[in-house]
C-alpha cells in the first residue's frame, strides 16, 4: 500500500469491562496507528461492539488505561470523544428517524457550529452564515456518497443499505480523525458491500481518517484492513497482519468452534 501509516494514536491497555456478572471484555490490550484500517473480528457476543463503546466513551471500563494522542484519558463522556475527532456508526442503525437525510448529516457537524439558540431564533448573521457554510460541506459528503437523489427523504423511509450509507455520511460530516465503524456492511448485498468498501477506502485514503472497523465478512477484512484484532468471549486471541491472523491456530478454532 502506498499510504503511510503513522504513530500509535490510540493505545488501549488491559481493558476490562463487566456488566454485573457478564464479563464483556477481559484484560484487552491493543493499539491503533494513525491512518491505518484496524479491523476487529470475532464471533457474536465476543465484545467487539463493547470495545467501540469503550473507545468513544459510551461505556466506562472498570479497569485499564486508554491513551489517545499521548494523553491518558480519565472518565470520558461520548460528546468529549466527538469533540476530539472520534466519530462512529452503529451496528443497529442509529439514525434520527424523523429527520431528512440532509438534516441527519447536518447534525453530524453540530460540534463545529457555534451560533446559539438566540441567534438562531432571530436568524442573525452568524446563524445564517453557518447554516450555509456547513450545508456546502454536507453537500460534498452527499456527492461523495452518491445520495443526492434522497437528500430530502426522511431516513425512516429508506432501504437498509442506504440508511447505512447515510449513517456513514453523518459520521463523516464531523470530519473525524478517527472513524469507528460497527459492521457497516452487515445485511448488504454484494454490490452494496462493494460500494461501502470503496467509500471506506476512499475515506481512509483521501481524508486520511484512521478507521477501526468491525466486520464479519472475512473476505472484506482480509482485503481492506492493515491489521486485525481477534476477540472471543471478551478475550483477545489474535492480533497482527491479516495473513498472520488467518493462519493463527486459536483463531481458526474459535471460528470453527463457534456457529455464527
Amino acid at each position: 500500500m502506498s499510504k503511510k501509516i503513522g504513530d500509535v494514536i490510540l493505545d488501549l491497555q488491559n481493558i476490562s469491562l463487566r456488566f454485573g456478572g457478564v464479563k464483556a471484555l477481559t484484560d484487552i490490550s491493543f493499539d491503533v496507528r494513525e491512518h491505518e484500517i484496524r479491523a476487529i473480528i470475532g464471533p457474536n457476543g465476543a465484545g467487539k461492539s463493547s470495545m467501540l463503546n469503550v473507545i468513544n466513551g459510551v461505556y466506562h471500563p472498570q479497569e485499564g488505561v486508554i491513551v489517545f494522542r499521548g494523553q491518558e484519558r480519565k472518565r470520558m463522556e461520548p460528546h468529549h470523544a466527538a469533540t476530539q475527532g472520534i466519530a462512529r456508526t452503529f451496528q443497529n442503525i442509529a439514525l434520527f428517524k424523523g429527520m431528512s437525510v440532509l438534516d441527519n448529516i447536518m447534525t453530524g457537524r453540530i460540534t463545529r457550529m457555534k451560533a446559539n439558540f438566540l441567534e438562531h431564533a432571530l436568524w442573525l448573521g452568524r446563524a445564517r452564515r453557518e447554516e450555509l457554510e456547513h450545508r456546502k460541506k454536507v453537500e460534498e459528503i452527499i456527492d461523495f456518497l452518491e445520495i443526492q437523489h434522497i437528500r430530502r427523504t426522511p431516513v425512516g423511509r429508506l432501504p437498509y443499505g442506504l440508511q447505512k450509507r447515510v449513517e456513514l455520511g453523518r459520521a463523516l460530516a464531523a470530519e473525524p480523525s478517527m472513524l469507528l465503524l460497527d459492521e457497516p456492511m452487515a445485511g448488504m448485498n454484494v454490490e452494496e458491500k462493494q460500494d461501502m468498501c470503496r467509500f471506506i477506502l476512499d475515506v481512509n485514503d483521501q481524508f486520511g481518517a484512521t478507521i477501526v472497523l468491525i466486520e464479519h465478512d472475512m473476505g472484506v477484512v482480509m482485503d481492506i484492513s492493515d491489521r486485525v484484532v481477534v476477540l472471543d468471549y471478551g478475550k483477545k486471541i489474535g492480533d497482527g497482519l491479516p495473513d498472520e491472523v488467518k493462519n493463527n491456530e486459536d483463531v481458526i478454532t474459535a471460528y470453527l468452534g463457534a456457529s455464527h
Binding site: F90, F96, G98, M99, T107, M113, N116, F117, A127
Partner: protein, 358 residues
C-alpha cells in the same frame, strides 16, 4: 399545475434554505398576513375577537410551546397550563411591583420566569423518560397551582388567589378594545412563531430532534444531552409563560390559579396531537380545531336534532363532544401521528403532482 416548484430552480443553497422555498407558499403567507392583519380587523365582530380569535391565538402559542418540548425535543409534559399560570402571575407581579415597567417588558420577564421554573421542573428529564417524566411534570402542574393558591403574596393578598390584570398600555396608548388586543396578541404570536420556525430549522432544532429520535447517537455525535434538554424546557416554558400572560392580560382580564388546571394542560396536549406533533403549523391547526369544534357542535347539533325530530339537551352536546374528541385523538395517535399538519402536507404533495398523479 398551480402549486408546484417546477421551473423554480434553486441556484444556491441560500435560496434553498429560505423560509418558504416555493413561490406559491410565499405568496400564500403574504395573503395570510394581509388577511389576519388587515382584513379581519376590518370585518370581525367584537364577539369574534374576544371569544374566538384571541383565545385561538393564545392557545396556539401555548401549543407551540408544548410542541417545542414534546414534538421537537421528545420530552412529554403535562404541565403546560401551570407554566402559563407562572407567566400570568409573573406579569401581574412585575406590573404591580416595578413602577412604570413597560407591559411588553413584563411579558418578556414573565416568559423568562416561566423559563426558569421550566428548567427546574425539567431537571428530572436528565434521568427519566417517557411515562415517568410525564408524571414528574404532572407534579409540576399540581405544585405550581398549589403554590399560587397557598402563598397570597403572588396574588397581592386577594381572596382565593384571583388577580385582575392591569391595563395594557404601550407608549401611552391603551389597548382596550378586543380589536386592539387582537392585534397585539397577533403581533406577539406571529413574531414568536417565526422565531420558533427559525430555531427548529437550524442546529438548535436539529439537536432537539436528535435527542428525541436517538439520544445515544446524539451524544456520540457531540450533542450534550443536559443543556439540550434543559434548553427545550426553557424555551417551551417561555412560550407557555408569554401565552399565560396574554391569557390574563388580553383575554380574561382576571384569572385564578385553579383556572390553569390539569384539564387545560391536557387540552393543549390534545391540540398538538390533533394538529401535528413536531410541527409549527400543526400547533395552530390543533388549537383552531379544539377551540372551534365545540362552537361548531353547539350550533349544528341542535339544528340536526331538530331536523331529525330527536330529543335534545345541552348535556348531549357535551357528551358528543367528549366522544368525538376521544375518537379523534385515538385516530390521530394510531393512524396519523403527525396530525392535521401532515394531512395538509399530503394534500399539498398531491396538488404538486396534479393533474398527473405519477
Amino acid at each position: 399545475m398551480i402549486y408546484r416548484e417546477a421551473g423554480q430552480f434553486k441556484t444556491s443553497y441560500a435560496a434553498d434554505q429560505q423560509l418558504f422555498p416555493i413561490r406559491q407558499d410565499r405568496i400564500g403567507i403574504l395573503i395570510l398576513l394581509a388577511v389576519v392583519f388587515l382584513a379581519i380587523p376590518g370585518i370581525a365582530s367584537e364577539y369574534w375577537f374576544s371569544a374566538i380569535l384571541i383565545p385561538f391565538l393564545i392557545f396556539s402559542l401555548a401549543a407551540l410551546g408544548l410542541n417545542i418540548l414534546t414534538g421537537y425535543a421528545g420530552q412529554l409534559s403535562l404541565g403546560s397550563a401551570a407554566f402559563m399560570a407562572v407567566g400570568a402571575y409573573a406579569a401581574y407581579n412585575f406590573q404591580l411591583r416595578i413602577d412604570g415597567i413597560p407591559i411588553l417588558i413584563s411579558f418578556g420577564f414573565a416568559g423568562l420566569t416561566a423559563a426558569g421554573v421550566g428548567i427546574l421542573f425539567g431537571l428530572p428529564s436528565l434521568w427519566i423518560k417517557g411515562f415517568y417524566l410525564a408524571v414528574a411534570t404532572l407534579a409540576a402542574q399540581f405544585f405550581i397551582v398549589w403554590c399560587l393558591t397557598k402563598f397570597p403574596w403572588f396574588s397581592n393578598y386577594s381572596s382565593s388567589g384571583v388577580i385582575s390584570a392591569q391595563k395594557v398600555v404601550i407608549l401611552g396608548h391603551e389597548f382596550a378594545s378586543p380589536r386592539e388586543k387582537y392585534l397585539l396578541v397577533l403581533s406577539i404570536v406571529a413574531v414568536m412563531a417565526l422565531a420558533a420556525k427559525n430555531m427548529v430549522r437550524s442546529s438548535t432544532g436539529r439537536a432537539w430532534m436528535a435527542v428525541r429520535d436517538m439520544d445515544v447517537a446524539a451524544a456520540v455525535i457531540g450533542i450534550r444531552l443536559m443543556p439540550t434538554k434543559l434548553l427545550a424546557f426553557a424555551v417551551s416554558s417561555f412560550y407557555c409563560g408569554v401565552a399565560g400572560a396574554l391569557y390574563a392580560f388580553c383575554y380574561l382580564g382576571s384569572v385564578e390559579p385553579d383556572g390553569f388546571s390539569l384539564d387545560m394542560s391536557f387540552r393543549i396536549l390534545f391540540m398538538i396531537i390533533i394538529g401535528g406533533v413536531g410541527s409549527i403549523l400543526g400547533s395552530f391547526l390543533g388549537a383552531a380545531f379544539i377551540l372551534l369544534l365545540p362552537i361548531f357542535l353547539d350550533i349544528t347539533l341542535p339544528w340536526a336534532a331538530g331536523l331529525l325530530g330527536l330529543p335534545f339537551s345541552n348535556a348531549t352536546v357535551s357528551h358528543i363532544q367528549i366522544l368525538l374528541f376521544g375518537t379523534l385523538i385515538m385516530f390521530f395517535l394510531i393512524v396519523e401521528p403527525h396530525g392535521l399538519a401532515r394531512l395538509w402536507q399530503i394534500g399539498k404533495e398531491k396538488l404538486r403532482l396534479w393533474p398527473f398523479p405519477h
